[in-house]
């Protein structure tokens, strides 16, 4: 068999009109651009965009023995009727609130303090950020076994004893469970916030402090009238990020309190999602709980956006 088509191949292609070449070039450029994008887009589609929709769809379905049916609001009513549901929300809110008081204000004041010190700068910054680099599981086993040991052999109880203060049962006492988780979580995570605050403190023009001092403002007044207004945006942003992060509290109860803790004192919403999805064979219920969590966080974000835009 011979494939010879000289009359076609030899023919010079007619010069295309300018508009057409321009359009085909534009098309080629677009294709090249999308070829560069395709890897990331596929991953986003598979593991972000599609699961987002699927989570909502799943929450209205029920899969039993490989058969999926639509069940309306059944998953939601079942999840809300579970007595752990309200306990988990209560625990999560208390944790978020305490973590805001301790884990949000503390880094700001630590950053203000570190910003004034002219010596050991690098060393102090490394120290603050070091716990952030530890695998959370490692750090939490340290807290669980050594710091929160309910006997007097534990680190915290030994310190309290030396100071002649009452010791605590820590994770074994329902009242101390959440504060203990807040302490561990703050120790592990505050480094990032401190460094971000430090960077924003360095952008405050020195003249503002100078002027405030000339007006007779003391240190506290200068913090209130200069430092806080100048770092307002970053303060507001980190507050939002912190709330979103702490509401997803999961590994602290799992490791420190073996999940639920004494008398359900540690159960969090994220832990409940994990329980329903992977132990009670109720992925649909877990998806419904996830949608509820998303709505609550969305409400928080809406309030945040309103508050921050109002101030401007």
């Amino acid at each position: 068999m011979t494939i010879v088509a000289p009359h076609i191949t030899k023919q010079p292609s007619p010069p295309a009109p300018v508009a057409r070449t321009k359009r085909s070039r534009k098309l080629r450029d677009n294709l090249t651009g999308h070829a560069f994008l395709i890897g990331a887009v596929v991953c986003f589609a598979l593991f972000m965009w599609f699961p987002m929709i699927r989570g909502i769809v799943m929450s209205f379905q029920r899969t039993r023995r490989g058969e999926t049916t639509w069940v309306g609001w059944d998953n939601y009513t079942r999840i809300v009727a579970d007595p752990s549901f309200w306990i988990a929300w209560k625990n999560t809110f208390v944790f978020t609130l305490l973590a805001l008081v301790l884990g949000y204000l503390l880094p700001f004041f630590v950053a203000i303090l570190l910003n004034e010190l002219r010596h050991f700068k690098g060393y102090l910054r490394i120290l603050v950020y070091l716990p952030v680099m530890l695998p959370p599981a490692s750090a939490l086993f340290l807290f669980k076994y050594y710091a929160y040991d309910p006997s007097d052999a534990g680190l915290f109880n030994a310190i309290l004893k030396v100071l002649h203060l009452p010791t605590s049962e820590w994770m074994q006492s329902p009242g101390m469970t959440i504060p203990a988780m807040v302490i561990a979580s703050t120790w592990m995570n505050m480094g990032g916030a401190v460094l971000i605050y430090l960077a924003s403190l360095q952008n405050i023009p020195g003249e503002l402090y100078e002027a405030a001092e000339l007006d007779g403002a003391g240190v506290a007044r200068r913090i209130w009238n200069v430092t806080i207004p100048q770092t307002r945006l970053i303060l507001a942003l980190l507050a939002m990020l912190q709330i979103v992060a702490t509401m997803q509290l999961f590994i602290e109860p799992l490791i420190l309190a073996n999940g639920a803790g004494t008398q359900d004192s540690a159960t969090s919403v994220a832990y409940l999602i994990y329980q329903h999805g992977f132990f009670q064979n109720d992925l649909n219920g877990a998806a419904a709980l996830g949608v509820i969590m998303l709505l609550v966080l969305a409400a928080f974000s809406a309030v945040y956006v309103r508050l921050t835009t109002k101030q401007d």
Binding site: T32, L37, L124, Y129, A139, I196, G290
Partner: protein
């Protein structure tokens, strides 16, 4: 040195000077105790015998330090295997993030194809979605990938692919690429360089600092992650360090678990001490990720 809350002059004079040094001493001592103290307690605690650790009051320095707990942790928990797994996942995560995320950020920043802005917005929108909300549908997707119907459980792809979908990386890289002058790219195009060639020979060499930051964050993300690897790596052979230690923690003496935790933390601590400058600058220039 720009002036801060308290003026330099005030800190140099008599009382201010004394106060400054007193505060400095308290801070340095206090921070060392608070942040390094627990780590010291962890490393030396694992050197103590089970009897000594239960003793009150606790000893500051192990009476006769023994490495047995560390050896037990290494052998009984098969830490070598767990460590290899974690390294392998981390290396793959760096590779795929660098390849796909830089390519995507380059396309969004310089090639700007049609609908590029829509894609970018859709990517950035995922930053708003809390990870816990997606965990169930992500898991369902990983056990039965749409269209191709592949089960990713126990496969490293289950860790690598979701990590590519990192909007923070795309944002960081795109912003860096945006700052590279358009003239350079136009000059390369005039010389007949293809987009790939431009990325490889012009953009990437100029972007080393940001590529370093992305790589370090990829390694630490894999090292610190817990729930996702716990779900998608269910068999003992494919576990990561954190998950493996957690899985063994029930039936293992406390000191051995702590010894394993110390060993698991060593690589990230070394990475931090070596690259602390890059990590801290990446954190503050990004200024978004806590």
């Amino acid at each position: 040195m720009t002036r801060t809350l308290i003026s330099q002059a005030q800190l140099r004079r008599g009382r201010g000077r004394f106060l400054y040094w007193a505060v400095l001493a308290v801070v340095v001592l206090g921070f060392t105790l608070v942040f390094l103290g627990p780590l010291y307690w962890m490393v030396t605690g694992a050197l103590k015998s089970g009897q000594e650790i239960a003793q009150t009051p606790p000893t500051l320095w192990p009476r006769d330090p023994e490495l047995r707990n560390y050896a037990d942790a290494w052998n009984n928990l098969d830490l070598a295997k767990l460590m290899f797994n974690t390294f392998y996942y981390a290396a793959g995560a760096v590779f795929f993030q660098l390849v796909f995320d830089t390519a995507a950020a380059y396309a969004l920043s310089k090639l700007r194809p049609a609908f590029g802005n829509v894609i970018l917005a859709a990517m950035l929108a995922t930053l708003m979605i809390p990870a816990m909300v997606l965990i169930v549908p992500q898991y369902v997707t990983a056990i039965d990938l749409p269209i191709v119907h592949v089960n990713l459980l126990d496969s490293p792809w289950a860790i690598w692919l979701p990590l590519v979908a990192n909007a923070f990386n795309i944002f960081l890289l795109k912003r860096f690429f945006d700052s590279i002058p358009e003239d350079l790219i136009a000059a390369a195009q005039v010389d007949g360089a293809s987009p790939l060639r431009t990325l490889w020979s012009i953009i990437l060499p100029m972007s080393r600092p940001i590529l370093g930051v992305v790589s370090i964050f990829a390694v630490t993300a894999v090292w610190k992650d817990f729930l996702w690897p716990k779900l998608v790596m269910p068999s003992p052979e494919t576990r990561t360090l954190s998950v493996g230690i957690y899985a063994f923690s029930g039936g293992t003496p406390q000191n051995v678990v702590i010894a394993a935790s110390v060993i698991a933390a060593i690589p990230t601590v070394i990475i931090f001490l070596v690259f602390q400058r890059n990590i801290m600058s990446g954190l503050t220039t990004g200024s978004l990720k806590g």
